[in-house]
C-alpha cells in the first residue's frame, strides 16, 4: 500500500495544493489536468527531488517522507523509476549505455531483448542520444526507467512524442511488465485518452486538489476542425494527433476549435 499526502505551493501561488492519494502495489494511476497546475511537481516531490511545505509518504510501511518528524529519504534510497518530460537522457552515452547505467542486475537478459524489440530500438542501440528524434528519445527514456526494476514508476507525459502505432506497442509492453513485476505506476498526462488504455483510476488535478474522475461520465474535450465535406455533410476533427470524422455541424469554419463530448 502506498499512502501519499502532500501540501505544496505551486508556481508561487498563495494557496497550497493538496495531493492525497492511496493505492496498492500493482495499481496504475493516471493523473490529468491542465498544464501548470503542479502535476510534474507532484511527481518530483514523491521522488524526493523537490521539497514540500507539509507531507507524508509511506511506501509499504517504509516512511519515505514525514515533514512532522523530519524524515526524508534521499532519492537514491527510494528506488524510483522516473520518465522525465524532457527525457533526461545522458548525452555522453549512447542508447545501450543509458539503459545499462540504470539497469538492475535482476532485470533478465531475455526480458531486455523483449523490451528492445517491443520498443523498436534495436537499430538505435549504438547511437548517441542527441542524434535521436523526440519519439525515439521518449522510448529510450521509458526503457531506461523500466530496466531499473523500480519500487515505483513515475511517468511525466510519457507518450507525448509517440505515434499511434508505437504508442500501442509501448503501452502493451508496460501492461505485460506490470503483470510480471507488479510495480505501481503513476502517469501524468493532459491527454486523458492515453490513460484509458492503461487504467480506470484517473485523478484530475484541479482547484488545488486531486479528484477521482468518474470514468462513466461524459468528458468534454476540445478539437480542431481540419476538413469540411459539405457534400457528405461530414467534418474531420483533430484530437490527440488523430483525426475523427463527425457529422457536420452548422456554422462551422475550418480551423475552428470546437467542444465535443466523449463517453
Amino acid at each position: 500500500m502506498i499512502n501519499i499526502s502532500l501540501h505544496k505551493k505551486i508556481n508561487k501561488s498563495k494557496v497550497q495544493s493538496q495531493f492525497q492519494l492511496e493505492f496498492d502495489l500493482g495499481d496504475i494511476i493516471g493523473i490529468t489536468g491542465p498544464s501548470g497546475k503542479g502535476k510534474t511537481t507532484f511527481l518530483k516531490v514523491i521522488a524526493g527531488l523537490m521539497d514540500c511545505e507539509e507531507g507524508k509518504i509511506i511506501f509499504n510501511d517504509t516512511i519515505w517522507l514525514d515533514t512532522s518528524s523530519k524524515i526524508r529519504l534521499s532519492p537514491q534510497e527510494r528506488n524510483i523509476g522516473f520518465v522525465f518530460q524532457d527525457y533526461a537522457l545522458f548525452p555522453n552515452m549512447n542508447v545501450i549505455q543509458n539503459i545499462a547505467f540504470a539497469q538492475n542486475g535482476q532485470f533478465e537478459k531475455g526480458e531486455l531483448e523483449r523490451l528492445i524489440d517491443a520498443f523498436e530500438i534495436k537499430s538505435l542501440l549504438k547511437q548517441k542520444v542527441n542524434t535521436l528524434s523526440g519519439g525515439q528519445k521518449q522510448r529510450v527514456a521509458i526503457a531506461r526507467a523500466l530496466v531499473q526494476l523500480p519500487h515505483l514508476l513515475l511517468m511525466d507525459e510519457p507518450f507525448s512524442a509517440l505515434d499511434f502505432r508505437v504508442k500501442q506497442r509501448v503501452i502493451n509492453y508496460i501492461k505485460s511488465f506490470q503483470c510480471k513485476y507488479h510495480t505501481p505506476i503513476l502517469i501524468n498526462t493532459h491527454q486523458i485518452h492515453e490513460l484509458e488504455a492503461l487504467t480506470q483510476h484517473i485523478y484530475e488535478l484541479n482547484d488545488f486538489k486531486l479528484q477521482l474522475l468518474d470514468m462513466d461520465a461524459t468528458i468534454q474535450v476540445k478539437a480542431i476542425v481540419t476538413k469540411i465535406n459539405i457534400e457528405e455533410r461530414t467534418m474531420e476533427v483533430e484530437l490527440d494527433r488523430r483525426n475523427y470524422v463527425l457529422p457536420l455541424k452548422k456554422d462551422i469554419a475550418l480551423g475552428e476549435q470546437i467542444q465535443i463530448s466523449i463517453d
Binding site: K44, A47, L49, S74, P75, Q76, R78, N79, I80, G81, F82, F84, D86, A88, F90, P91, N92, F101, A102, N130, Q148
Partner: protein, 223 residues
C-alpha cells in the same frame, strides 16, 4: 645555443598550477553554480579580481602576506624553515591565485549548462554523488573543462608581473621564460629575447588553436 632552463621552469609552473587549480575549482565551481546568494556573489567577485587588478597589485599583496615579516611567512619560516618569497613554492602560490578566474569561470559556466534533470535521473538510479560527478556531469562539460585547463596553462605561461614581484629573477629557481625575455631586453640582447619571445608566441598560438579546434568538435547539444 638556447638555454632551455627558463622554459622547463615555465612548463613545470604551468603544469602544477593547472593541476592544483583543477582540483580546487571542481568542487568550488559546482558549489558556485548551484547556489546564488550574497556569499557566493562575494566569492565570485573575489575570484574575479585577478582579471581586473594590475598583476603588480596582486603580487604586492601576496608578497606582504607571504613575506618573512608577515604572520604566515614568520610561522612557516620558524616552524618548517620554509621561505615562500623568492622561491618556486611562492611562485606557485602566486600563480594559483593569479590564474584562479581562468579555471573557475569556465568550470562554473560548464556546471550551469548541465540540466538539473540529468543529475536527478542519476540520483533516482541510486548512484552516489561522486559517480554522478564522474560519469554524468564532467563528461557532459568537456568543452568547459578543456577551456579551463588550457586557459589556465596558457595564462600561467604568459605570467610576468606577479612572477617578478614574488619570485624575482633567480636563475634555475624562479627565472621563467617571460622574465628571461625581460632580462635579455634590459641587457640589450635582442637576438636572445627574440628567440624566447618567438618560441612563446608559437607555443601559445598552438595551444589556443587546439583549444578552439577541440571545443568545436566536442560541442555537445545537451537538450
Amino acid at each position: 645555443m638556447i638555454d632551455w632552463t627558463p622554459f622547463i621552469l615555465t612548463l613545470k609552473l604551468a603544469l602544477l598550477t593547472t593541476i592544483i587549480l583543477f582540483c580546487i575549482a571542481i568542487p568550488l565551481g559546482y558549489f558556485l553554480s548551484k547556489r546564488k546568494n550574497i556569499f557566493t556573489i562575494f566569492l565570485e567577485t573575489l575570484f574575479g579580481l585577478p582579471l581586473v587588478l594590475p598583476p603588480t597589485v596582486l603580487g604586492f599583496y601576496i608578497l606582504i602576506t607571504l613575506g618573512k615579516n608577515s604572520l604566515i611567512g614568520d610561522f612557516l619560516s620558524e616552524h618548517f624553515d620554509i621561505q615562500l618569497v623568492f622561491s618556486f613554492s611562492g611562485l606557485l602560490i602566486g600563480s594559483i591565485i593569479y590564474s584562479f578566474p581562468f579555471m573557475i569561470q569556465p568550470l562554473q559556466a560548464g556546471f550551469s549548462t548541465i540540466p538539473e534533470d540529468l543529475i536527478h535521473a542519476a540520483r533516482l538510479m541510486g548512484k552516489k554523488e561522486i559517480t554522478i560527478l564522474l560519469k554524468v556531469v564532467l563528461p557532459n562539460m568537456k568543452s568547459a573543462i578543456l577551456s579551463g585547463l588550457v586557459l589556465t596553462f596558457a595564462h600561467t605561461i604568459g605570467e610576468f608581473g606577479v612572477v617578478l614581484m614574488i619570485g624575482g629573477n633567480i636563475p634555475d629557481k624562479t627565472k621563467v621564460a617571460s622574465i628571461a625575455i625581460y632580462d635579455y631586453v634590459e641587457s640589450m640582447q635582442y637576438d636572445n629575447a627574440h628567440e624566447y619571445a618567438f618560441i612563446l608566441l608559437c607555443f601559445s598560438f598552438t595551444i589556443l588553436f587546439l583549444l578552439y579546434y577541440f571545443n568545436r568538435k566536442n560541442n555537445f547539444n545537451l537538450k
